[in-house]
Each structure stands twice: as structure tokens, then as C-alpha cells.
Symmetry: C2
């Protein structure tokens, strides 16, 4: 199989790219996600694919979608952060673009992209954590994408880390993604700005003077400048990230963790506290080989590249 | 390969059995575990194997040991509930008995036994939870024993369920096995007997009048009689069990959970509250097919049968 199209469907934009067998993107399009009407998203995907198909000889489509995808890779059964419920996305996209299509969980697609062409190369037991608004997870076991019995495996953002903890979009409380995601980072920064404005001066400045103006990019920028308040936010989120890695190591014992998604742009500012907690918290420490913890390499292209490659399989 | 020997090494006894290709035990021996001197345990295992080897034509030995076993299936690197640290058990047993030997985590061996010959037959995505003093875990993925990159996968008892929670033998706090194991059941019953002796009359009676006299068997007996205090203990432990199943379903999405070990003798008294919490707590509920939750079938023979079968591979 030659060229395939990979599509990454996020909360704000749809990215579609033509990808060759070596993971190179030959052309890429972006469209806004019609988030108020998720049913229209299939049309946006289909139209982007049609446009690329008009200019390239492509054979299949892989769509990475931010939701729980069934084991036949056809339907988004549930999306904690979008309005999709039992959405037959495969059929809708195929009807529109006339190419064989597979639907994948977006974090699975990213993990696969990193495994095949990025920071996961060479490690066949891999756990990839995508820190965006929420937390996505992708697990590679012995070189294969892990999906579980019904397709919903590796939803790492939704195991519980705090009994009776913070509310989650999935309907539960205390899910990991409420503590170690981009949303958690922003919540931490805004709370700091509200309760200790004197300490959070730089964050408030970047947020146009109000706590609600502070977004993840501002916290990362301030942390990179060395702002103590922003660094404290990364320490808190990094600590929860590291505890999660320790839990996942107890359950899965991977050879490598990759950290991707927007929050990972902070690099070592996030990884340093995460590694510190991980090595202090993992069970059997001192008697085991620890997984290494790295930042993902492909950035925002990982989902497109991974979905395109999964479409070949 | 014809007959093999399976050995199950627990905290109090070593069980060794000659097992055929259909999982039938032809002869079984039991010896006390020299728990004060774990180094002697290899001799006890070797001697039991030698005795069985004298009466049967056996070709290999599988040892299920309560500890973290390395990926070469040779060494117990760490045992939260025993004194083993980097114990080269494979070499010691082979030197003593002269048969090729593999070392397996005991809960992995039990899971494999149930998968091949017990309540796990036919389900290739299986998570087996063994509730003894602690919690052991075994995971079958696509029909293969999951070991992880370095052999320490599926240590499900040691992911954290409560920040700053109860102390665990592994050195951490808040591990699942401090909330949903036999030890947790006993702790719950004794606490109830101490704080509410009027309610815990039957438990105290079975415990020779003192809270410290209450063991797991007494709680199970009282619960089977319908004693409200004992049933409350199972509700508490069952609730924590069900929450753990929900967490494991988020991460692994298995087709079936099996509950084994001594605590599972209580059957539905344990499973009913566990299932109740599981279905109320699993992420994406209402939009996913749920794993079924069953009691394991092979009882205390699962480890011997599973270890023997793994020795063939």
C-alpha cells in the first residue's frame, strides 16, 4: 500500500494529511471542528479527504477521534469531552469520500505514530500519555496497538486517583485527567492567581489581568521564563503525572513512557517533577528496571501520521 | 511434552503437583514454607520436585512464587510480603532437582491455570485478581500471558487508590491491596469488633472473644450465616474491589474479570457489592460492553496447574 490519509479530529480543529510509508506528510489541511454540531464533523472530515484525494493517489483513510472507539474501529461509542454518542463515523466518512476508512482513538493514533516514526521507535512495550485538555492514552504491547476486548483499552485518563475527587466529563469523580492534564494546569494557575495574586503577578499579566484569562500556553511561557508561580503549577501537575506513571508501571511495566500533547511543550519543566515522583513512588523501586520517560517527538503531527499508518493495517 | 510439575509457593505452604496436558493433577504434595528463612525455600521446592520425579516421568518444572519475577523467568527480584530480594530461584531449584525450571509470579500462574482449564476458558482478554493476604494480578492479552517489558506487569495490588492512604508492605501508601484483600477484610472486621462490639457479637464469638482472634475464614463463615456485621465487612471490601475493577477496565478493557484466592470463597457475598460498584463506576458506562465478573473455578489448585502448564512454553 502506498499513500494513505490520516485525520486527527480534535475539539477545535480537524487536521488531515497525506502520508507515505515512511511517515512523511506530503500535504496537510486544517479545518475548524464544527463542535456545536458533532454530526457535521463527518462531513468536514469527508470533504478534507476528498480534496486531498483529488491531488494524490491514496488508498485508505485513518481517522483519530477524541473518544472511545469500538473494537471494529467503526463507531465512536462515547466521547467524554465531545457530544458524540454511538456515532457511526466510519460509515459516514466512507459514504462521503469513497475510501476504506478506519476509526481509531486519537491517543492510540498518536501513540502509534510515535512508536513507528517518533520517540517510541525500538521500544515494543510503550505507554504514550497525551496531555491536552484531558489525558489520552495509547499502549503498544509487543509491537501491537493495544485495544482491549471491546476497543476501549488504554483510557488512562479515566482511572480514579482521588476518591470523591474533582468532577470529570466522563461522569465520575477523581479521574487522573482532572489532575494531570492541561485543564488541571490551567485550574492550578487560575486558583493561584485568585488566592495569591501577589505571587501570580506574571501569570495575571499574561492573562490580561484576570485569572480566567490564563490559558495553558501562558503558564508554559511564564514557566520557561522562570516565573516561580508557573513553575509551581508544573510541579503540582508533574507530581500527579509521575504518580500516574507509577500506577501504570505497576499495572503494565512498560519499557518507556512518552509524554505528548500541548502540555508537553514545557519539556523538562514538566518531566523533571514527573520523573521525581515516578521514581519515588513506583512499587518495587530499587529492585526493578524503570521505564524511561521521554517527551514525544512528532508534536501535533503524531495523530495524522499514526492514523494514516494504522489505516494500512 | 507430557507431564510437568507445578509448584505454588505461598507464605505458609509449598504445594507441588504432577500435572498432565489437560490440566489434571496426578499427585500433589504439600510442605510448610520455611518463611523465617526464604533461602531454604528453594531446597523445600527442590526436594518436593525430586520426590515427585521419583514416581513420575516429568520433563519440566514451573514455580509460581509470591513476588516480582524478572522477564527471564529466573529471579524473584522483590517480594512485598516475603523476604526475597534478587533471589535466583530458577538456578537453585534446577541445581537441586535437575529439571528445566521456570519461575512465574504466583498470580500469573493462577491466571494462566484459570485461562487454560478454569473460569477463563474462551475469553482471550482476561484479568484475574487473586485476593489472598494481599492482591495478586494476572493478565491474559489475546491469549498470551502478559508480563510487561521487565517481567513485572500486572502487579495490580500496588497501584494507588488512596493518596496518603494505608501503609503497604511494598513501601508505599494507599495501594489497592490495603483496601480489597484478605488483610483488608480482617482489618475491617477487627476494627468493627473493637469499636462496635455490640454489633460484632458473632464475629467476636468466632474469634474467641477478642478482635485479634478474627481471621478471614471467620468473617466468611459469619457472612454465610447472614451476620450483618460480617456482611458489612464484605460490602466495604467488595466496594473497593469493584472500584479497582472499574479502574482496570478503563486501562485494559478486558472481556472478563476472575476473582480468586481465599477471600473469593465468599462467592456472591463478595461479588454482589463488587459488581454493583463496578457498573456504577466504570468510565463510559451505558456506552460500552462490560466485562463479566466471575469467581475463579480451580480454587487453590490454580497456581499448581498454571505453573505446570507455563513450564511447557
Amino acid at each position: 500500500m502506498g499513500l494513505t490519509i490520516g485525520v486527527d479530529v480534535g475539539g477545535t480543529k480537524v487536521a488531515a494529511g497525506v502520508v507515505d510509508e515512511d511517515g512523511r506528510i506530503l500535504e496537510k489541511l486544517k479545518r475548524p471542528t464544527p463542535s456545536s454540531s458533532p454530526a457535521d464533523t463527518a462531513d468536514v472530515i469527508g470533504d478534507a479527504v476528498l480534496e486531498l484525494k483529488g491531488r494524490h493517489q491514496v488508498e485508505a483513510v485513518g481517522v483519530g477521534a477524541a473518544g472511545f472507539v469500538d473494537e471494529t474501529r467503526s463507531t465512536v461509542v462515547f466521547a467524554p469531552n465531545l457530544a458524540w454518542r454511538d456515532e457511526p463515523l466510519k460509515k459516514k466518512v466512507e459514504d462521503r469520500c469513497g475510501l476504506p476508512t478506519v476509526i481509531e482513538n486519537d491517543a492510540n493514533a498518536m501513540a502509534w505514530g510515535e512508536y513507528r516514526f517518533g520517540a517510541g521507535r525500538g521500544e515494543h512495550f510503550l505507554v504514550c500519555i497525551t496531555l491536552g485538555t484531558g489525558i489520552g492514552g495509547g499502549v503498544i504491547i509487543d509491537g501491537e496497538m493495544y485495544r482491549g476486548r471491546y476497543g476501549l483499552g488504554a483510557e488512562v485518563g479515566h482511572y480514579r486517583v482521588v476518591p470523591d475527587g474533582r468532577r470529570c466529563g466522563c461522569g465520575n469523580r477523581g479521574c487522573w485527567e482532572q489532575y494531570a492534564s492541561g485543564r488541571a494546569l490551567v485550574a492550578e494557575a487560575r486558583e493561584l492567581a485568585r488566592t495569591s495574586p501577589a505571587i501570580a503577578g506574571r501569570l495575571l499579566e499574561l492573562g490580561d489581568g484576570i485569572p480566567e484569562g490564563i490559558e495553558g500556553e501562558e503558564v508554559t511561557l511564564a514557566a520557561k521564563e522562570g516565573d516561580p508561580a508557573a513553575l509551581e503549577c508544573f510541579r503540582v501537575v508533574g507530581h500527579w503525572l509521575g504518580q500516574g506513571l507509577a500506577d501504570l508501571a505497576a499495572l503494565l511495566d512498560p519499557g518507556r513512557f512518552l509524554i505528548g500533547g500541548g502540555v508537553s511543550d514545557a519539556g523538562e519543566l514538566l518531566l523533571e517533577p514527573a520523573r521525581s515522583t515516578f521514581v519515588k513512588s513506583v512499587t518495587g523501586r530499587g529492585h526493578r528496571t524503570l521505564a524511561d520517560v521521554r517527551i514525544a517527538e512528532l508534536g501535533s503531527d503524531a495523530g495524522v501520521v499514526g492514523a494514516a499508518d494504522l489505516a494500512r493495517r
